[in-house]
Each structure stands twice: as structure tokens, then as C-alpha cells.
């Protein structure tokens, strides 16, 4: 049963029967019956997605120069934040959901007030597109990585508009950036993953030999996940840099696509250019699920911080994939059969 409306502004309802049969390991993904498709950024596709820290909201940013805040459970658009001059490339929310930061092709990073939707601060300084942006744990620093090969650390506490520090070790554009309690992980187009350890005062550089598209920390903080343009996702040991797992099968050749780990570090998920989300078992490295999202490139994905929910972005649609608790053994069997 498909109820589709032509107006892109309205919520499209879709039947979930086709997706519910897909399951992975313990849990199964399916589209929400209520709002599995969220309203789009008009025609242009959303470029990046992220859950808020508590997972109740999701943030999509797109090429219509705006950010949109959604409620995950109700599927409603809560607020639109516009102020960027070009497409918004990445966004992040603070731990207390009071602030947002976003970066754009207009070389700026903007700090937003969530409630009012006003621009709190517009930070200029990058020499090129700003690819990625992240708050630190306490939202005192905004870190932004740009195509100019620098990561800039902006102070949200002071009124200074200059960055605290510029990390210019990357020899090419910084494509991805993640912050943990005391570490900063950056992936660069020069094929290196850099981990700045603030506590130790050290910089660890891991050579991957292929432009990095996305980097992630594992939830336990012991590993890093790296996806690169050689269509490989690698799980590296954080302390030694040794490879613990390699996940292949998807297609990632030209787009800057995301990868992520499931909330309990059981699975590795990655976008693919063939319109699927690939899901591997972390330990065994075997492909557990190939989630068909659409026909176009799956541009971004994000995993819910606590529940088994997945966000995907494709061609102006944001989809929330949820997992049903394992109902019966029979169904799973059916699924296996259907797959077969």
C-alpha cells in the first residue's frame, strides 16, 4: 500500500512491508509506518544528517542553504534555520540541544540558537568549503574541517572571532571530523587519518592511501572506523593503528559518503553509491544486510545513539529506519526464505 502525494512538502506515507522483511543479526530494520519519509529540502537533496545527542531530533542540512530540525518520533518539521549563502554541508547539535553549528560551501561556520533560530555567531576564516563541523563534548569549541586542509577550533565561550588553533597538518582537504572527550579524529583527502590526542599532546597519523570520506570513533573509544574512496571501510585499532577489520562490497568511488557504527558497536554501516546501505558484522566482517534505500546514491546516514534506528538521506528524502524487536522466530525464517 503506497499513499504518495505529489507535493514534496507533505509527508509521504509508505507501506513498510517491503522493508520489514530485511533483518540483520538480532534486530530488523523497517520503515516507520507513520513517518518514515520526512519532508524534503524541496528538490535539492539533503547532504548530511545527524541525530541530536539524545536521539529525539534529527538535523538535516541540504543544498537549499538551510538546516531543518525534525522530531524523529512524530516526523514533523520543527524549525528551519536559514542564513547560509550556499549549500549547507554538515551540522551538529550540542549536548544540551540548545545550540547548533553548521558549515557551508560559503566558507563559514554558523552557530545557531535552537529555540529562536537566530544566528549566534558566524565564523569566517576558512579559505574554502567547510566540509565538516563538530561540537566538542561540552559545546565549548566548534571544530570545522575544510577543503583548504585546515581544521579550525572556534571558541564558543569567548567573543573572539579568531580560531583558538588552526590544525594545518593535513596536506589536502579535510573531509571528515569527529571529536571525543580528549581526541580529535580527522580524515583527509591526502589519504591519512589523523588523531590529535590533546591529553598526550601527540598526533598520530595513519596512512590509508586513499582519500578518506568518513571517520568515526567506536562507542567504546578503542577503535576508529574509516571509509575511503577505494570502496573499503576499515576498522583500525586506535592505539596502534593496526587494522582489525576490513569491510568491502559497497561502492564508494567518487562521492563523499558516510559510514558509521551501530550504537552498540555490533555492526558497521556504510552508504553506497548503488543505492543501498551496507551493514556488516563488526567482528566477522561478513555482510549482514544490504538495505535498499533507493536508486540514487545514499548520501548520508546516521545511527541513533541509543536505539536501533537509522537515518538515511537520498535525493531530498530523509528516511528513518527503525528496528522492531524480534517478534517470532518464524518471521525471521520467512525473511531468510524471501531473501533466498
Amino acid at each position: 500500500m503506497v499513499r504518495t502525494q505529489t507535493n514534496t512538502h507533505t509527508v509521504r506515507y509508505d507501506c513498510c512491508s517491503t522493508w520489514s522483511c530485511l533483518c540483520i543479526y538480532i534486530t530488523r530494520f523497517r520503515c516507520f509506518s507513520s513517518s518514515h519519509f520526512l519532508s524534503t529540502h524541496l528538490s535539492p537533496p539533503p547532504l548530511s544528517l545527524s541525530f541530536s545527542a539524545d536521539g529525539n531530533y534529527l538535523l538535516s542540512c541540504g543544498s537549499d542553504k538551510s538546516l531543518k530540525l525534525w522530531s524523529v518520533s512524530r516526523g514533523t518539521l520543527l524549525k528551519t534555520y536559514s542564513g547560509h549563502g550556499y549549500e549547507v554541508l554538515d551540522a551538529d547539535g550540542s549536548y544540551d540541544n540548545s545550540q547548533l553549528c553548521s558549515c557551508s560551501s560559503d566558507k563559514t561556520v554558523i552557530l545557531w540558537d535552537v529555540a529562536t533560530g537566530q544566528v549566534t555567531r558566524k565564523l569566517r576564516g576558512h579559505a574554502g568549503k567547510v566540509n565538516c563541523v563538530q561540537f566538542n563534548e561540552e559545546a565549548t569549541v566548534i571544530l570545522s574541517g575544510s577543503i583548504d586542509g585546515t581544521v579550525r577550533c572556534w571558541d564558543t565561550r569567548s567573543r573572539k572571532f579568531d580560531p583558538i588553533q588552526i590544525l594545518d597538518e593535513a596536506q589536502d582537504g579535510v573531509s571528515s571530523l569527529k571529536v571525543s572527550e580528549h581526541e580529535l579524529l580527522t580524515g583527509s583527502v591526502d589519504g591519512r587519518v589523523r588523531r590529535y590526542d590533546l591529553r598526550m599532546g601527540q598526533l598520530h597519523v595513519d596512512f590509508i592511501n586513499s582519500p578518506i570520506t568518513c571517520v568515526c570513533f567506536s562507542a567504546d573509544g578503542q577503535c576508529t572506523l574509516t571509509s575511503s574512496l577505494d570502496s573499503t571501510v576499515r576498522l583500525l585499532d586506535k592505539s596502534t593503528g593496526e587494522m582489525l577489520g576490513e569491510y568491502t562490497g559497497h561502492k564508494m568511488k567518487g562521492y563523499k559518503l558516510d559510514c558509521c557504527l551501530s550504537s552498540k558497536d555490533t555492526h558497521v554501516l556504510s552508504c553506497s553509491e548503488d543505492g543501498h546501505v551496507y551493514c556488516w558484522d563488526l567482528v566477522e566482517g561478513s555482510l549482514m544486510l544490504k538495505l535498499p534505500v533507493g536508486k540514487a546514491v545514499v548520501q548520508s546516514l546516521s545511527f541513533h545513539p541509543s536505539e536501533t534506528r537509522l537515518l538515511t538521506a537520498m535525493e531530498g528524502r530523509v528516511q528513518v529506519w527503525g528496528a522492531e524487536p524480534e517478534e517470532t522466530e518464524e518471521e525471521v525464517v520467512v525473511v531468510q526464505q524471501e531473501k533466498a
Binding site: N136, I164, Y196, R199, M200, G201, T240
Partner: protein, 685 residues
């Protein structure tokens, strides 16, 4: 009754003078102690402006004592002192708290804190109960100065004197205590001994006593015009009117004596009568008997001129002490002023020290300044002679040896005037030029030198050179004369003068020197010819002068390992040691603060990767240094627990690397695999 004007006549005369014109309001100015105009303002323009517009602020705003608290430095308690609320006027010489160097209370002996006393007096006045601080004084903690503490540590006890223990009789000490009022000096030996014999007490031998206490000498300087030993009337004693202070005796010496003699007896005595009279004002509750008003007795006053009666007014009282004292004073006629004692021994004659012995190597040579007729020598020499101290002039080290000097410099050093030879001034400029051209020996010039000269002319007279305004290159900067000549040469070249070189050279120089300079100038002009205008207009000069460091560039100290090795390692999927580089990296202090992390390198002066200066065009900048970057110079911070290497013996690894670097990366990796296999086997064993 008759009244007298107490004013001087001058003033009286002035009284009849016409009144002076009042100073107009705009001329009524007030200056502070530094001569700055003070502004009246406030209600009825009566008040001064204090502080900054009568506020506690400053021009920069009101800045409170900044709160400083960090993990390392906790905020301390801040106690406000009275001085914090005073301005410089208060702290000035005539303020309420003049600044002077004082010893702190711990080290002071007896002197009181003036400021504190004043403050206390003020608070006692303003306190709800006047004189409230009396209680405070009573319960003041027992404090002794540092000197007393030290003395106690050394065995001193209160009441004793300071010094080595003295072997003497007990009774002597007792006798001395009686003379306490008189001073500290021990009496002449003979008299005391005779007295001791009289006492006839048994005194054990080998017993030493502490020396007796010395009354401190008052060192306050005498600033008044009274005679020595004069003490004015004590108003407190005069007005107290108590029985203890019966009569104010002008002759203090005597009163002391009488007091000491009468001792206790006098206290009990009640004197009545005389010039007495009960004044008004005795309260109903007060005891009528109380002698609240001072009464004086006429018998206290001398009625007859002509000094004291014998016995010092004791009227026949003949105590043995009196005689004792007389005996002591016998050597000296006249009164001994209070605070003074008779000297026990003679004044020491001043010793005159012989002049010091001359050292052996002392040479009594004196340089006499030559008597020179100053008009006959050049002013330079005259000045040098006047200022000379007989030393040779030190050659400035920066100027190089004397061989580097040119004739002009030599001339300057010697103080000679410029030679008045066949100079241009004698001829007109045109004839001069010809003259000089004829003087020059053209045969000295090689044909290619002429050619170079022409080339320089063509280069510098072009439009690009004209466009260049300021000449930046100064090749002969060390010798200003030469540089000036060179500048002149360049200027002439720009104007297209063919004889630029000859004109710019110094005609007083020797032929050889000129020839050398000619070559140098042409070479320099050709070497630093102006760049073409189209190019030069696109570049601007660097704001900061590069100077010596022009050829260096900052590069990161730690370089990455060989990329080829890594690529090979990635192909072999051997991630880990081979693909990882660890560098020292300094986060910004503020960044650490924001991340709630202590700075790993506190006090390091830079952020980011440590940088070193290398030659800009060095080959090594383009070669990757294959040193292990982990061996960084600065020590790794503590707590590095997590990076436990899988292969602990990196030494072998290094050896392997060095050995097989020439063989090639791939071969090395094969060897590395063998090595790790080997390692595994040894581990299993």
C-alpha cells in the same frame, strides 16, 4: 583698662590702603601639589574632583581585583587594608598616612604603628561606646619582637642585661638596682668594694651573674631650642591632680630623687589645703572627698631666689644613700643630665691609620697631556687631544683590520683635513671633467670593461630604472662614503650620463683605488640591475626585512616516514607500525582549557608541530627524512599507558630498516614478515 593693638604697624597701615580688587572667578584656580589645575565641581562648586570624575573608576573603566582561580592557582583571600582606600595625597608627606620605610611589627622594638594608632583613635571616637578600644588593648595578645625571641633562645631572661656573664657579688647587683634611676654605667670599683666590705655578706666564688640591664638610650634627635635636659611641663601630670602627682616640680632631677626617696610613703600621704577651692561641677553621685581638681601648695614653690637649699630640699634628711651618691658624683662638679652618666674610662684617642702599602706592580707614571696649539691642528685632532686620557684609541672590531680602511677613513682617523689638490672647485665643471678624463689612463681599461660600462648605462637609463623610485640594494653599506659614491654613480646612470663613473669617483683617491672602485661599481650596477617594470610592479617588497634568515624556511621538525614504504604496507594490508606516524603536537592552552584537559606541554611557547628552520633551497627539504619520528626531543608526557607496542623490540626493527633501506621497500616488507614470524615463534616458545 587699656588695650593694645597686637598687630604690627605694617598691618595697620595696610588697613588704610584701598582694598585690592577681588580676584575674578575665572582666575580663581586651585592647583594640586604637582601644579595641575584642580577642577571645582559639585554642589555650589565647592568640592574638588577626586579620582576619576569623582568615581573609583579609571579612564579604562572600573576594574575590580580580578578573580583568578584555576587548578594550579587558587584564589587567595584578599584583605582590604586602609591604604587601599587612600589616594596618593593621603599617602603623601602631609597626608594622613605618610609613606616611610618602617620595620614591621615583628622586628620593631617599641615603636608603634602610627597609621594603626590613628585609625584606632578614629574608630574609638566613632564607636558607639567611646574608648571602646581600651578593652582591645587589655586583651592584646602577648607579642614580643623578633630580637627578644632570639635573645630568649640564647638564654636571656627578662630583667637581665645582655652580654657575657659577670663574676661579681650578689649585693653589688642589689646596690646597682638602687642606682637604676641614674644610668647604666657601673660605679667606680673602689667605692663599691668598700661598700661591699661593709656589708660583709658571704658570697660564693665561681658564681657568675648575668650583667645588669641597661636602660636604653633615647636616640630621638633634639630638634627644639630648649637646653639640654629640659623637660617641659607634663600637662597630664599637671591636670591629673591625683595624690601621686602633687606638685609639678620644674627641676625634674630633684623630683625624681625625692620620689625615689619617699617611695611608698608619699603615696599614702594626702595633701590638703593651700591654694584650694572646690570648683563647680562635682556630680551628685561623686564622692565629695575625691580630689578631682588639682590643688597646689604654695610651699612647693620657691619663695626666695637663689638656688636650692642644701640637701636638695630634703630639709635635714640625711640618708646614707644620699652620701653614697655624693661620693660617686664627687669626680664631677655640676649636675648630670638625665640620660647621661659619667664616663668610667677615658675617651679613646683616635687611631691614625698609616697609608696603604703600594702594590708591587704599581708604576707611578703619569700621562701629561701635550700642550698643543689648538689653532695649528685640525679640529679633529684638537678634540681628540682634549678628550684623550693617554690611552691608545681602540680600533672598532666591526670595522675590520686597518688594511680594510680606505684613504678617506684613514684620513678621518688621523684627523687630517682633506687635501686641497687639483680639485674640481678650481675649474668649472666642464673643464674639470675634461681635466679628469685626461688624467685617467685609458689604457687601464680592458675593452670588455668599456663594454660593461655601456651595458650598465643602457640598463640603468631605461624607463624601468626610472620607475624604480627608491634604491633598495646597498652593496657598500659598510663604507658610507663608498655607498654615497655608488649612489651618485647610479643617479648619473639614470640620467644617462656617459661619464657617470668618472664623475662619481673620488678624485683625491689614488689611481689604483679608483680603478678598483670603478670595477666594483660597474659590476654591482650590472648585478643588481632593475627588474623590468612589468614584473616589478607585480611584486611588493616584504614588510619585514629577511636579513640573514632570508634563505631559511620553517619546516616541521618531525617528518613523515617514506610514503613508498607505507603504500607498500597498505597494499600488503599491514596496517600498524608501518603506516603509523606519531608526532609531538602542542595543543593551544586555551583549547586544553576548553576540553577540560591539563596542558600536556605547559609553558611550551608554541602550538602545533615543533618547527625548525632549514635552508630554503636545501635538498633535504624535499627528501623525506627516514628517521623514527617517535624519538622526539621533548619528553613524552606522563601517563602513556595505552600505547603498548606489539613488537617491543623496535631496535631490531630499526636495524632491519637501516639494513634494507637500500634493497627496497618491498624486500624490506618481506623481511619484516619473516621477522614478525620469527618473533611469533620465539614468543610461542
Amino acid at each position: 583698662s587699656t588695650w593694645f593693638w597686637s598687630t604690627e604697624i605694617r598691618d595697620v597701615v595696610r588697613y588704610y590702603e584701598p582694598l585690592r580688587k577681588p580676584v575674578p572667578l575665572y582666575e580663581q584656580t586651585v592647583k594640586d601639589e604637582k601644579g595641575r589645575y584642580q577642577r571645582f565641581h559639585g554642589a555650589f562648586t565647592g568640592g574638588f574632583s577626586a579620582g576619576y570624575f569623582n568615581t573609583v573608576g579609571t579612564k579604562e573603566g572600573w576594574t575590580p581585583a580580578t578573580f583568578v582561580s584555576s587548578r594550579q592557582q587558587k584564589a587567595g583571600r584578599q584583605n582590604a587594608r586602609p591604604e587601599d582606600f587612600m589616594d596618593e595625597e593621603d599617602l603623601g608627606d602631609h597626608g594622613i598616612a605618610p609613606r616611610q620605610i618602617t620595620t614591621t611589627a615583628d622586628f620593631a622594638s617599641g615603636r608603634k604603628d602610627v597609621i594603626r594608632d590613628k585609625a584606632r583613635a578614629i574608630t574609638s571616637l566613632s564607636a558607639p561606646i567611646p574608648g571602646d578600644t581600651v578593652l582591645e588593648d587589655l586583651v592584646a595578645p602577648a607579642r614580643s619582637s623578633m630580637g627578644v625571641e632570639l635573645l630568649r633562645k640564647m638564654g636571656w631572661k627578662d630583667g637581665q642585661g645582655v652580654g657575657p656573664r659577670v663574676k661579681r657579688r650578689l649585693c653589688k647587683q642589689r646596690a646597682d638596682s638602687a642606682t637604676r634611676a641614674f644610668g647604666s654605667a657601673s660605679p667606680p670599683n673602689g667605692s663599691s668594694e668598700s661598700q661591699d666590705e661593709e656589708d660583709g655578706e658571704f658570697v660564693p666564688e665561681n658564681v657568675t651573674f648575668a650583667p645588669k640591664d641597661v636602660t636604653p638610650i633615647d636616640f630621638t634627635p633634639k630638634v627644639d631650642l630648649h637646653g639640654l635636659g629640659y623637660r617641659g611641663l607634663n600637662p597630664l601630670a599637671a591636670l591629673r591632680g591625683g595624690p601621686g602627682a602633687g606638685h609639678i616640680n620644674l627641676f625634674t632631677m630633684d623630683s625624681d630623687r625625692t620620689n625615689s626617696l619617699f617611695g611608698e610613703d608619699r603615696k599614702g600621704q594626702r595633701r590638703r589645703g593651700g591654694v584650694a577651692g572646690q570648683g563647680f561641677g562635682v556630680g551628685a553621685m561623686e564622692d565629695d572627698d575625691e580630689d578631682i581638681y588639682h590643688r597646689d601648695i604654695m610651699s612647693n614653690y620657691d619663695t626666695v631666689l637663689g638656688g636650692e637649699e642644701p640637701g636638695n630640699g630634703l630639709y635635714g634628711w640625711t640618708a646614707p644613700q644620699q652620701y653614697n651618691r655624693k661620693k660617686k658624683d664627687a669626680a664631677y662638679l655640676g649636675k648630670i643630665l638625665e640620660g647621661f652618666t659619667l664616663a668610667s674610662d677615658k675617651l679613646e684617642t683616635k687611631t691614625i691609620f698609616p697609608p696603604p702599602n703600594l702594590p708591587r706592580d704599581f708604576r707611578p707614571v703619569h700621562y701629561f697631556r701635550p700642550v698643543v696649539d689648538l689653532s695649528s691642528v685640525s679640529p679633529m685632532v684638537a678634540q681628540a687631544l682634549q678628550t684623550s686620557r693617554g690611552h691608545m684609541a681602540q680600533e672598532e672590531p666591526s670595522k675590520g683590520g686597518r688594511h680594510q680602511l680606505d684613504s678617506a677613513q684613514r684620513r678621518e682617523l688621523l684627523g687630517e683635513a682633506t687635501l686641497q689638490g687639483a680639485d674640481c672647485s678650481l675649474y668649472s665643471s666642464e673643464t674639470c671633467r675634461h681635466n679628469k678624463m685626461s688624467l685617467l689612463n685609458p689604457s687601464r681599461f680592458a675593452p670588455h670593461a668599456e663594454q660593461q660600462q655601456q651595458e650598465a648605462l643602457s640598463v640603468w637609463s631605461g624607463p624601468t630604472a626610472q620607475a624604480q623610485t627608491g634604491q633598495t640594494f646597498k652593496p657598500f653599506e659598510r663604507t658610507p662614503h663608498k655607498q654615497a659614491r655608488y649612489d651618485l654613480y647610479i643617479d648619473q646612470l639614470k640620467q644617462g650620463d656617459r661619464d657617470a663613473l668618472e664623475l662619481s669617483l673620488d678624485p683625491t683617491m689614488t689611481e689604483w683605488e679608483r680603478g678598483r672602485e670603478r670595477d666594483e661599481f660597474v659590476r654591482a650596477a650590472l648585478l643588481y640591475k632593475p627588474s623590468s617594470s612589468s614584473l616589478s610592479c607585480r611584486f611588493t617588497r616584504g614588510k619585514q626585512d629577511d636579513g640573514v634568515e632570508a634563505d631559511t624556511v620553517e619546516v616541521t621538525r618531525d617528518q613523515e616516514n617514506d610514503v613508498d614504504d607505507k603504500q607498500a604496507a597498505v597494499k600488503m594490508k599491514m596496517f600498524g607500525k608501518l603506516t603509523r606516524d606519531t608526532f609531538e603536537w602542542h595543543p593551544d592552552n586555551l583549547l586544553c582549557k576548553r576540553f577540560n584537559i591539563p596542558d600536556p606541554y605547559p609553558g611550551s611557547g608554541f602550538v602545533g608541530m615543533p618547527k625548525v628552520k632549514r635552508d630554503k633551497f636545501s635538498v633535504f627539504n624535499f627528501l623525506t627524512v627516514s628517521e623514527s619520528p617517535t624519538a622526539s626531543a621533548s619528553p613524552a608526557p606522563q601517563g602513556n599507558k595505552q600505547s603498548v607496542p606489539l613488537y617491543p623490540d623496535t631496535f631490531y626493527l630499526k636495524c632491519y630498516r637501516e639494513e634494507f633501506q637500500s634493497v627496497g621497500a618491498l624486500t624490506f616488507i618481506v623481511y619484516y614478515q619473516i621477522y614478525s614470524l620469527f618473533n611469533l615463534i620465539t614468543r610461542l616458545n
